[in-house]
Symmetry: C2
Subunit: 211 residues, 2 copies
């Protein structure tokens, strides 16, 4: 139950690009005017390059606080059961009705692997054992980095969490390629099947440009 | 010139733990009272679990904005030149005077590899070609994930950036193990030499507990 995924503004990198949603996370610094007030003292912030820095930051002229905005990690699993992969059909925007790997924003206080376990449990009511980090996808224009682990389902029990309409296992021939929600998921699944055919799983990295 | 690294509060996971500095980034949610005002409307925020969420968030009772706090990525390089590795001696706290790999907070609008290149340029005035992601270290108690790439220096030109006292190449026997600034760097360097002895570089993952 990741609040993030319910924010219509927060996840904006879709597979088609057709319903791409801009957000505070997805704006370049020159567009990032959405921070108006200092979190510390409540004064109006200004945009400037702090001394010794090279980037524009939201700075508080009253208390001096510098507010940094950094990329967010989205973490998920390629979870396998008897050769099939677990996908979730999204019950929320963006990508409502489309299929995705179980994944979501990493929370403070957890490891990357814990985030993958939690998201798989929340979105697909599934327990998995994590194997290896499989893919990293940088998406600079929305300030996100997506990580996917290979994992094994511990049993055949799974189901739709609050943010999923349904969950299902797909073998390679059944993957709904034209109904996948996000390009990072397309990259991850293609890499996965390529590796599986080659007989060895590696690590795959990609950077996505705006669609 | 990464402002982040100049904030005394922002990088708090040292190798010794002796000079560990707590920060807004490093606190658990129950301690995270440092956000006082809404960035959107300037009203006082409250801590509560939003509907459908499972985590405490800073929520604005006036405009309804939910403020999410997520882990930050610190990205750097294990950069090699003729069998030696490039280290930087820190000119800033935490870890002033101690050695580290060139690394720093990933910025919005860049890929993970671009962050590694930029940090290596800023801290060690060095140009590298990125090879492969080598290590991922989760540090849940300070809400950070550290990524290190293997890289090759493009030439023997390097020097101290603004945040470094000096930079130098070290062969394995010269690594200043007792004067390394961060545990993630210790993990990365140990994994690196282990792999190099074995003849093949892999990918290494670790989660650090509080010291």
């Amino acid at each position: 139950m990741q609040g993030h995924w319910k924010q219509k503004k927060s996840y904006s990198e879709t597979a088609s690009g057709a319903n791409r949603i801009e957000s505070a996370h997805s704006l370049t610094m020159t567009e990032q005017q959405e921070m108006n007030y200092c979190t510390q003292c409540g004064a109006k912030v200004v945009l400037r390059i702090p001394e010794g820095d090279s980037h524009l930051r939201h700075v508080c002229p009253q208390c001096g606080e510098i507010h940094y905005l950094n990329p967010k990690l989205v973490i998920g699993c390629v979870a396998e059961w008897e050769g099939c992969l677990l996908l979730c059909r999204r019950a929320i925007e963006p990508g409502y009705g489309l299929w995705t790997l179980p994944a979501g924003f990493m929370e403070n206080g957890e490891s990357t692997a814990q985030a993958a376990l939690r998201e798989t449990s929340e979105e697909a009511c599934a327990s998995v054992s994590i194997e290896q980090l499989f893919a990293l996808v940088s998406i600079p224009h929305i300030n996100q980095v997506h990580l996917f682990y290979r994992a094994q389902l511990q049993n055949a029990e799974f189901g739709a969490g609050e943010e999923s309409l349904e969950t299902s296992l797909f073998d390679e021939s059944q993957i709904p390629w034209d109904r996948l929600a996000f390009r990072s998921v397309v990259f991850c699944l293609k890499s996965y099947f390529k590796d599986r055919h080659s007989g060895a799983f590696g690590f795959h990295e990609s950077t996505l440009s705006p669609p």
